[in-house]
Amino acid sequence: MTKELICICCPQGCRLTVSDESGELTVTGYTCKRGIEYGKTEATAPTRVITTTVAVTGSSWCRLPVKTAGGVPKSKIFDCMDAINQVTVQAPVHTGDVVLSNILETGVDVVAARTIE
């Protein structure tokens, strides 16, 4: 098996080749070590960071930007969105505060991406 991928770790967009010969994944075409990691994960169990917003009360802002602190399985993106959409946060809230922990048992937290006093 050989897969051609574009690395999404940074704006460089390296063209990776992931091959599965003799049961071990090898990645070529990367220019930094994150490419190796991305290539392997993408070929086996791709994940994505989700960025979206949740409702916030007690502030002049009405939406709080949030992100998953790490990648969640690509197949669960819409389920995660549904779960995140149930959340309403009360201000004040600080960058990095967990607004939803261990989303859908993925082991990944959803955290605030801005401070709203």
Binding site: L5, I6, C7, I8, C9, C10, P11, G13, R48, V49, I50, T51, T52, T53, A55, S60, W61, C62, R63, P65, K67, K74, I77, F78, M81, T95, A113, R114, T115
Partner: protein
């Protein structure tokens, strides 16, 4: 009237970085003038990640990136005037502004940094034919509605333009439950980063139509249909290739234009190629003591580069305030040769500033295998470097040693193509 050593017009990423940099150089009387209720500029609505890999060596969202700089500013005694709109700047460096608390007032400054950012090209600028219903938004306006105001703008969406904002909004609208039917790009290549093509379009099976454009918008009240046609090599629509999409929304991501109305009001010369002020390698415009950086100078694709450029502008402004200097009247003029759209800076001052300078430029078409060359007026090659891929969508950066230019008046930046296949 207020008096400051340094007035920074615009509190987006460029203005914040310039302020922090000038502070670090020792300037203590600084004001940031911000028209919005908050600083951070467009980053506030860019809730996606991908910012900061160069500067902070980690991947941040727009609000997080802005937050880091807001924190740095908060730790200084830099004044920030929010909800404040500058109406006019004079060549004498008087700034006339208005806000609800100070009213109509003037600021006099020893130096000014222009960091007003850019605006989006609109439907009117590219004359898209058809009806004029609601439901046609620039991608940035839609992004504001969705990410800041928390309102959806449509259910079935066509996006014109494959720049990064268009791609990001394709994903964003999809995550919020809309169906994105197509992303349409008039050029034969995408204007967005490859990673965004993957994670914004491919992930959600959103088709990208290259060499296509929108040729009709239908709907008397709200958008009902958008017609997309293939274009020929001259970007003219080819009759008979029309595809009709039933949709309620058309998002436009068709380019950004530096907002230089204030720059012009001060009489500062503008470079028609970059649509920003002409600057020396210290980011100073041709009006002494006025500097420019960020998207008001030329449109960037990475905020990290905005930060670097603005840090330099802030540092130069500090130098100018603390140890006043004048530019030479005989700078080296940088010109663009074949393959290059524009360069920033446009002028090198060999008598002032730092020994090395970054030079930003864009290529005018997709180049696979080329050599970046900087050549003096007498043919002397001052710089040459091979590069495998260069895209108009991605700004190029090279670093030049100003000593190479001694004895020269002009230098041309160009790309030699083909001869150096990797």
């Amino acid at each position: 009237m207020f008096q400051y050593d340094l007035a920074i017009i615009g509190g987006g990423p460029a203005g914040l970085a310039a302020a922090v940099s000038a502070w670090n150089e020792g300037v203590r009387s600084i004001v940031i003038i911000e028209r919005d209720d908050v600083t951070g500029g467009i980053l506030n609505q860019c809730i996606h990640n991908g910012f900061g890999l160069h500067y902070f060596k980690e991947e941040l969202t727009g609000p997080e990136y802005a937050g880091r700089f807001e924190q740095m500013v908060a730790e200084t005694s830099i004044d920030v005037k929010k909800q404040t709109m500058v109406l006019n700047i004079t060549p004498e460096k008087m700034i006339y502004a208005v806000n609800p608390t100070d009213g109509y007032f003037a600021i006099s400054a020893k130096a000014i940094v222009l960091s007003m950012g850019c605006r989006e090209r609109t439907r009117g600028a590219i004359s898209i034919p058809g009806d004029r219903p609601s439901g046609v938004f620039t991608a940035g306006t839609a992004q504001r509605y969705v990410n800041i105001e928390g309102y959806m703008v449509g259910k079935r969406v066509v996006i014109l333009g494959s720049g990064d904002i268009g791609l990001i909004m394709a994903r964003r609208m999809t995550l919020e439950g809309a169906k994105v039917l197509a992303v349409v790009e008039i050029m034969p290549y995408s204007n967005g980063l490859n990673r965004n093509l993957v994670q914004c379009l491919d992930d959600y099976d959103i088709p990208l139509y290259l060499s296509h454009t929108v040729t009709d918008i239908r709907g008397k009240r709200r958008v009902e249909q958008v017609v997309v046609s293939k274009v020929d090599e001259n970007r003219a629509p080819i009759p008979g290739t029309e595809m009709t999409f039933d949709c309620d929304t058309l998002l436009l991501s068709v380019g950004l234009i530096p907002e230089n109305e204030l720059t012009k009001s001060a009489g500062i010369p503008i470079d028609r190629r970059s649509n920003g002020a002409i600057v020396f390698d210290d980011m100073q415009t041709e009006l002494e003591g006025v500097f420019a950086c960020g998207n008001v100078l030329h449109v960037h694709d990475l905020v990290d580069f905005v930060t670097a450029e603005s840090m330099k502008a802030g540092k130069s402004a500090a130098q100018y305030i603390l140890y006043p200097y004048q530019h030479t009247d005989q700078p080296v003029e940088l010109q663009n040769g074949p393959g290059v759209t524009y360069t920033v800076p446009q002028k090198l001052d060999l008598t002032a500033g730092e020994a090395k300078t970054d030079l930003f430029f864009r290529v005018n078409h997709v180049i696979h295998g080329g050599t970046i060359t900087v050549q003096a007026e007498d043919g002397t090659v001052l710089f040459s470097r091979k590069k495998a891929h260069m895209l108009p969508a991605e700004m190029e950066k090279i670093t030049l040693d100003k000593s190479w230019f001694v004895g020269h008046h002009t230098a041309t930046v160009s790309i030699q193509e083909g001869a150096n296949e990797k």
